[in-house]
Amino acid sequence: MLLPACGNMASPALRSAAERAALSQGSGTASNPTAGAALGSPSGAALPPGSAPTVTLPQASLPTQPLSVGQDTGSGSSAPPGPGGATGPSGRVPTGPAAPTGAASKTGGNGGATDVGVTATTITVGNVATISGPVPGLFRGASAGVQAYFAYINSQGGVNGRQLKVDAHDDGFQCAQNQAQTADAAKTDFAFVGSFSLFDNCGATALPADVPDLSEAVSSQRAALKSNYSVQPQKPGAATGPFLYYKSTFADSYQAAALLYYSTPATTGVIAGVKAAMQSLGYQIKYERSVGATDSNFTSDVLRMRSDGVKFVELLFSPGMIAEFMQAAGQQNFAPVVSTLGQGYDLAVLKQGGSAVNGMYTAMPTAPFFNASEASIPAVALYQTWMQRAAAGVPLDLFSVYGWTEAQLFVDALRASGPKATRAGVLQALSAVKSFNGDGLIATGYPATRQPTICYVLVKVVNGQFQRTDTPAGGYRCDGTWQTP
């Protein structure tokens, strides 16, 4: 924000800025390419239509033995899976309750203040997220997820005798503030963990190359940093998996498709990628429109789609707009197959859309986490439990999942780098992390090779609830390829 405090004042009144924020509110967003990560695949050719999906299962239970960073227990440890190939269990270093934590302190040899932000008893990491501003609490989940995971680790005795601390910053939805806070925190904090902001490109300009940055990059500038390790890295494009599913499940729907999206500089890559993914599979896009920040009239779109015989609709905008579109479609008795990326997995969609959103599909880059039934997955249960304990009042959302899993990746790397914690050591350990899935909490991403995931959980709204559909319990579908624009 040009005006320092405007992020708290003027910005709220800025339509498109506010909408950009609203787009990102809740889980998965159009402006957050992370939403597109659900559809990512590193390489490979498209599967033929109707190919049976390959399902990957995460570890069925919390691991009991520590592994070294980079060791991959699955088939795709050092390279992303090929087309339709199974990724197998995660190759990440597990961090289960039984993992040793305070070993160094017991042996008394962690080296004390070995680097910036490190003492004999603590390690402090930075986190810069948008918390105040147009939508108060927008990405508070990002730091809350980190704090929850650190609380869990600290309860186990910390790492090598050190307790983990978060130096949380709020960029107030301001570019310059994000940059300044990143620069300041880099001077005192050991690393960045779980940062999340639509202005992370601003912070990227101030991030020294030697500071580990374990943040889910929103911008291409942030993702391009060598020190950045996203648990689900992004790159322009999208995966074809969900579109393969729709094509094989709903015959002919692909011959008349529509695409509605909200475009920002940060989302053009995702939108172009989705379009390319659809077209690569033969989808005929009959209608597409970039909606405005305050658009609320989707009835005209529905009329046009119906006139054009549209049978499949892909929506790439905020949860509120998704609900509005679904209501408009329901009112006109227009019932195409409707698909969203992660942004559709939001309680606001259910609240506002009511029965109109029944039947809507969402391709999730993470395991579903709202329902108590999902607690059958140990990683989800652990996340739910510690979010409740350490961040009570912060709603579960995609951002806290990323905060949690980035923290998990950090702890893994920290352990692997040895008791004398150094930035260089952590960076080296991170460079060996070929794949990571947070024990199944997220679809397998490839931090070191910077390849996005192609895997996803297909969720459908049934009777006003999100339900896994055509995806085995605890598993992911990995049936697509990555399609670049």
């Binding site: 924000m1 040009l2 005006l3 320092p4 405090a5 405007c6 708290n8 004042m9 003027a10 910005s11 709220p12 800025l14 339509r15 498109s16 800025a17 506010a18 809740g26 147009p134 939508v135 108060p136 609490g137 508070r140 107030g172 570019c175 503030q177 940059q179 300044a180 300041d184 490109n201 601003c202 300009t205 911008s219 291409s220 500038q221 920002t264 500089p265 940060a266 597409e288 429109r289 970039s290 405005g292 305050t294 609320s296 009239n297 009835t299 005209s300 779109d301 009329l303 046009r304 006139s307 949860p319 509120g320 707009m321 509005e324 006109q332 309680l347 259910l350 609240k351 009511g354 709603p395």
Partner: protein, 638 residues
């Protein structure tokens, strides 16, 4: 099957939506002369309160409606009128705008404290399972209710305002309060009823629209902005014409969605409401707007060249010294205050001296910074001058179509321009990531990369700008500005070229703002499109008015208070939760203190000297030859 008829029906329905959002705005303006920027916020509060009563607490819908529309909203409106609006009688346009923007921010702040924005809420539709099948399209009961309410309000209120004594009295408040009082009607009471009605209508709009959109604080608050075009078509007075304006907008959107596709229509469509607003403002006949008042009721003394030079030098030395004394964490904020102060100088010239309210200053700021990033990323002074000159040209281009406008219409035209630039230029021109990287100026081979050095440069730039402005105020051009500020009609009568003066001051102000943008982004080293969005210009006006609109020192004081707030917040983190509310309250206080901090201090000093009581206020309008000084109160109402 043709979709013309269905699209037309949909356009009519959404046109009525726009009309409903504009209704409260028109009623309060028509009956009090105050353009209520907080109308949307009142609607949002109404919708959330209704949600609280009916959904959270389970009251029946009718009871909730009655409580909100017949009790709470009217009470709130009456209270706002009594506490805020009545005291604005005779105030300038700038002050009334700032106060209502303050109210807007305060209401959003309160809503954020009461209703956690991160929790999803939904307001159910009235008769959710009922709809009517029209040719090619189904219309829900909720939409039909909106159409009915919109048309009914237009008819009923027209009858009320034209055929009843109370209605006529309410309109009379705008024309002449004293005359109204002589007729035995209490202007205060009439105005209070008008605001109670306006608040109730705003709440009704919020309750009706919330089920169709999202029950989110910001989107609901900002929805009304798109209705400005409808209100202006109704010349801010006529509700039937407001409905016509809403229908035009709704139909334009519906047809464009149905028939136009491609990158260009997609890019332009979001700007459609503001484009129509601009057209309406520029081409429709202006109604009886009260205009021609200066922003400030208090006029500062003019300062001699020598004193201004000495003061400028002292300022540079003091600011440079302060940069070495301040803690490192506060220094960037101090630098921002200096750069922001320079930007505010552009408004001192335009608004403080010239009396022209512009709501697009941040657009020029962003344009200057953007051009600098393109032309001279290395910080060349020549590049900065070219960028500044381009801003001057853009300022002139904006001014040309709005030369005949004044007062609120001029403000709305600039608002529409700024919004259009947001939607079309800033979103798309900044490219990947949407950021501008700033460069610090290099002057004659001298580098100002260091924080202290750049702070000194900023101080020198501010001081130079202030000295130039003070010189302008003493100059012939400055007297013409003062005359234009005081009475455009008198100016024209005396042969002073209003259009030429307006064009020049707009252009010069845009140049100053653009150069200020270069300085500011040089300080922060980075900026995003978000920084230059339309309502940031309102915040600029707010800051300047807080400091003192007609003075260069007011520009610095306002900027300093504003820029240093985050430093205080670092020590008191809880302030972050109420910063919006505090800012709103500060803006509201402008209604009590239209001369800003500097004006208050100056008046205190004058009072201590014992001269204030005996000396009539210096009046900017004395530049109009021969007009004798008049008491401040009378001048304000002149």
């Amino acid at each position: 099957m043709s979709i013309v008829l269905p699209l037309t029906i949909v356009g009519v329905v959404y046109g009525c939506v726009y009309a409903v959002t504009a209704t409260g705005l028109v009623v309060t303006y028509a009956t009090s002369g105050v353009f209520n920027f907080a109308s949307g916020a009142l609607g949002m509060m109404g919708a959330f309160t209704y949600w609280q009563l009916t959904v959270a607490w389970g009251l029946p819908q009718l009871a909730g409606l009655a409580i909100v529309l017949l009790v709470l909203a009217p009470l709130a409106g009456a209270l706002i009128e009594r506490v805020l609006i009545r005291r604005l009688d005779g105030s300038s346009l700038g002050v009334t705008l700032v106060v209502t923007v303050g109210l807007l921010l305060a209401l959003i702040g309160v809503a954020n404290l009461i209703w956690d924005p991160s929790k999803p809420r939904a307001l159910p539709q009235f008769l959710p399972n009922d709809s009517v099948a029209l040719p090619g399209v189904n219309i829900s009961a909720q939409q039909l209710i909106i159409v009915g309410v919109s048309l009914s309000i237009a008819v009923v209120l027209r009858v009320f305002f034209t055929r009843t004594r109370v209605g006529a009295a309410m309109r009379g408040v705008v024309d002449d309060r004293r005359l109204l009082a002589l007729a035995g009607v209490s202007p205060g009471r009439a105005s209070q009823i008008a605001w109670a009605m306006g608040a109730s209508l705003a709440a009704l709009a919020g309750i009706l629209l919330a089920p169709l959109v999202t029950l989110n604080i910001l989107p609901l608050t900002l929805l009304v902005i798109d209705g400005y075009a409808a209100a202006v078509v109704g010349r801010l007075r006529s509700l039937p014409l407001t409905v016509v304006g809403g229908l035009a907008l709704g139909l334009a959107e519906s047809y464009s969605t149905g028939y136009l596709s491609g990158d260009l229509p997609d890019m332009l469509r979001p700007a459609l409401p503001m484009f129509l607003l601009f057209l309406a403002v520029v081409f429709l006949r202006q109604d009886r707007l009260r205009a021609g008042r200066s922003l400030s009721g208090w006029a500062p003394r003019t300062v001699s060249r020598r004193r201004s030079l000495v003061a400028g030098a002292v300022f540079v030395i003091a600011a440079t010294g302060a940069s070495w004394v301040l803690p490192g964490s506060a220094l960037p904020h101090f630098g921002q205050a200096l750069a922001l102060g320079f930007i505010l100088l552009s408004l001192v010239l335009l608004t403080g001296y010239g009396g022209q309210v512009s709501l697009c200053q941040m657009t020029f700021v962003g344009f200057g910074a953007y051009l600098m990033g393109r032309i001279a990323p290395g910080g060349s002074v020549l590049g900065a001058l070219v960028a500044t000159a381009c801003c001057a040209v853009l300022g002139a281009l904006v001014a040309i179509p709005v030369l005949r406008l004044r007062g609120l219409y001029l403000a709305l035209a600039t608002l529409a321009f700024a919004s259009g630039m947001d939607s079309i230029f800033f979103i798309h021109a900044l490219g990947d990531g949407g950021i501008i990287k700033g460069a610090r100026l290099r002057v004659g081979g001298l580098s100002f990369e260091g924080s202290h050095a750049y702070t000194s440069l900023l101080a020198a730039a501010f001081a130079a700008g202030a000295v130039v402005l003070l010189w302008v105020r003493r100059s012939r051009f400055g007297r013409r500005l003062a005359a234009m500020n005081d009475s455009p009609a008198a100016c024209a009568t005396l042969g002073v070229s209003i259009n030429g003066t307006k064009l020049a001051v707009f252009s010069a102000s845009a140049a100053l703002a653009g150069f200020g943008g270069i300085l500011y982004v040089g300080q922060t080293t980075i900026a995003s499109a978000n920084d230059f969005q339309m309502l940031n210009s309102l915040v600029l006006l707010l800051i300047l008015t807080l400091g003192g609109a007609a003075t260069v020192s007011g520009a610095f004081i306002g900027a300093l208070v504003y820029a240093m707030f985050p430093v205080i917040q670092q020590h008191v983190p809880s302030l972050g939760q109420v910063s919006l509310l505090l800012t709103g309250l500060a803006a509201i206080s402008v209604g009590q203190n239209p001369d800003g901090i500097v004006g208050q201090v100056a008046k205190r000093i004058e009072s201590w000297r014992g001269s204030a009581a005996s000396r009539p206020a210096r009046v900017a309008g004395t530049a109009v030859a021969g007009s004798p000084p008049v008491p401040e109160r009378d001048r304000v109402l002149a």
